[in-house]
């Protein structure tokens, strides 16, 4: 097995009505009072034209927007770029919506358009479709962002040739609180991939 050095070439975060790329503030929203409007604002700011976006649940929108920010200015995304995501709340935000729709047997209205989003890995499906990435996907659930595990697993994928690059990160949404952090890991870059560095960037 080849063990190379890997780098964090780009990273982004979406937190508290702000979008950051490589540590710089890219977008601030001081007006919207809910996540849906905030996400729409980011979508407009990024000048995206992707009607599927509006069908996504809020968790997917967050992950999708972060990936768009991460990929901005990048000419081409390799089809073998793996997605390794994690969070604390899985898809609970949408699970609760589906649960509400089946709570009352007299007023029972489960919807396939909601149910499909009751899996956290759907975020990776949406990002894969958008970028034609036919790659390794894995979604992990941990109590908090586990930089050690996430960097190790990403390195395994690149060391074994299962992925050319890796998008690794955290996309969490629970009761309107959200926290998103994605990092582009590859053989090129200035910041060497270590669990400490990944943790520092996550905590920035």
């Amino acid at each position: 097995m080849i063990k190379e050095k890997y780098y964090i070439s780009d990273y982004c975060a979406i937190r508290d009505k702000k979008v950051f790329k490589n540590g710089d503030e890219l977008y601030i929203d001081s007006e919207s009072d809910n996540l849906k409007d905030f996400a729409k604002g980011v979508y407009k700011f990024l000048e995206l034209k992707y009607p599927k976006f509006h069908k996504m649940d809020e968790l997917c929108k967050l992950g999708f927007l972060a990936s768009e920010v991460l990929f901005r200015d990048r000419e081409k995304i390799d089809q073998d770029t793996a997605l390794v995501l994690s969070n604390r709340s899985s898809s609970l935000d949408t699970d609760r919506k589906h649960q509400t729709s089946i709570m009352d047997r007299e007023d029972f209205y489960p919807s396939p358009a909601v149910f499909v989003y009751t899996l956290p890995n759907i975020i990776m499906g949406e990002i894969s479709i958008r970028n034609k990435m036919k790659s390794e996907n894995a979604f992990f659930v941990t109590e908090s962002f586990d930089a050690d595990f996430m960097s190790k697993y990403s390195e395994i994928l690149m060391n074994t040739g299962k992925a050319s690059d890796v998008i690794c990160g955290w996309v969490d949404l629970d009761n309107d609180k959200y926290d998103v952090f994605l990092a582009f890991l590859s053989k090129k870059g200035k910041k060497e991939l270590t669990k400490e560095e990944l943790n520092n960037l996550y905590n920035q």
Binding site: M1, L83, R88, S89, S90, L92, D95, R96, H98, Q99, S101, I102, M103, R105, F108, P110, S111, P112, F115, V116, T118, L119, P120, N121, I122, M124, G125, E126, S128, I129, N131, K132, M133, K134, S135, E136, N137, A138, F139, F140, V141, T142, E143, D146, F149, K152, Y153, E155, I156, L157, N159, T160, K162
Partner: protein, 379 residues
């Protein structure tokens, strides 16, 4: 690269609370799917494979007096307890632990406190119960979770993070998932019939399972069965429908075979995903044909277990291990007449056959696919 052996396993399902009992029922072509009349799950009777609560409580009392666990937790803890008690040399505290589940304690969303509905509560429960120093990691990757968890376990061992890994999988048959599949009109009104012309959809099931992966051949007590290749690929096509060309599955198969260093004609048996929904089975038939595997004997075990979500691919891999050891194949239960456009060789009757290499595949929502090559060491 290090070989990673599938050393020991356990299955907790409606077909029994040990792998042996499960295999015995497969030999009898006994299904766990039946008409379920349980108002807690569904207001009308439906076909599914549920674990009897009384039987589970009785089995649970033998390992613990603590009744404060959910049904899924009891299933998973019981499975691991049995794995440990049958393998005295297995020290789970020295192992990596990967838990595979799609919905966890989803029934707890019904109550006022949803603390246990957080998937991470399962890793905490398992950590506390077995007094582990580290928290197990949870993989939640739709219907491929159980197979992908084995692949991840293998990768962790080959990267020398751990010498041994325990993979635990489990999911419930809940009102939550059943209502969702009903909303997709994907639930069969009779026990499911994978790959059959008369198939009308899935039957859901519930189960838990555990498997011990090791790079240390001294742990191998039966025949040496290893995972020699693994790969996963997204279709990049649709979030709830499989690719019409079987793209992600085809890529996964091709890569898994490559890693195992074998050609498609060296596969003796395919244990497919086979959910019995028209689109899934069709997509799989196309992918297997593209991979040149149309004549390889194939079955789906969904006719026995129903679709057990995060446990399914783990259970099917465990059964594959025993098929390799015993040189036997089980009929694809429910199958009558081929109902996919491309020809595949569905196993109609149980029979004995010399087996060296098995391909396990799974596909799921989000367009995810996984393929594993599981093989027997030829002496």
């Amino acid at each position: 690269m290090k070989k990673v052996y599938l050393v020991a396993d356990n299955i907790i399902s409606p077909l029994g609370f040990s792998t042996e009992e499960n295999i015995e029922n497969l030999r009898l072509n006994q299904t766990g799917i039946k008409k379920v009349d349980d108002d807690y799950i569904w207001s009308e009777p439906f076909f599914g494979a549920v674990i009897n609560n009384d039987k589970l409580s009785t089995a649970w009392k033998i390992v613990s007096n603590d009744s404060g666990y959910t049904k899924l937790e009891k299933m998973m803890l019981l499975s691991v307890s049995k794995l440990l008690s049958e393998n005295s040399s297995l020290d789970i505290n020295k192992c990596g632990v990967v838990i595979s589940t799609t919905k966890g304690n989803i029934n707890n969303l019904r109550g006022h406190s949803d603390e246990k509905a957080y998937l991470a509560s399962i890793s905490k429960t398992i950590q506390h119960y077995f007094k582990l120093d580290h928290t197990p990691v949870i993989l939640s990757n739709a219907c491929i979770s159980g197979g992908l968890a084995l692949a991840i376990g293998k990768r962790m061992i080959q990267s020398e993070i751990f010498e041994d890994v325990v993979v635990i999988g489990g999911d419930l048959l809940s009102e939550f998932t059943l209502s969702g599949f009903f909303s997709f009109q994907a639930v069969s009104t009779a026990p499911c019939k994978p790959f059959c012309k008369n198939r009308t959809g899935i039957s859901l099931g519930e189960a838990a399972a555990s498997a011990w992966l090791s790079s240390n051949k001294e742990n191998v007590t039966e025949e040496a069965i290893s995972i020699s290749g693994d790969a996963s690929a997204n279709d990049a096509n649709h979030i709830s429908g499989p690719s019409r060309t079987g793209e992600g599955l085809y890529i996964s198969i091709k890569r898994a075979l490559k890693e195992a260093g074998v050609k498609s004609n060296q596969i003796d048996y395919i244990t497919a995903h086979g959910t019995a929904t028209p689109y899934n089975d069709e997509m799989e038939a196309i992918a297997f044909n593209r991979a040149g595997m149309q004549s390889v004997p194939i079955n789906s075990l969904k006719g026995y277990y129903g679709h057990t979500l995060g446990a399914s691919a783990l259970i099917e891999s465990i059964i594959a291990r025993h098929c390799l050891i015993n040189n036997e194949l089980f009929a694809s239960l429910g199958f009558e007449e081929l109902g996919v456009s491309e020809s595949i060789n569905v196993i109609a009757k149980n029979h004995k056959k010399e087996l060296t290499r098995v391909l396990k595949t799974a596909s799921g929502f989000g367009g995810c696919n996984v393929a594993l090559v599981i093989e027997k060491e030829v002496l």
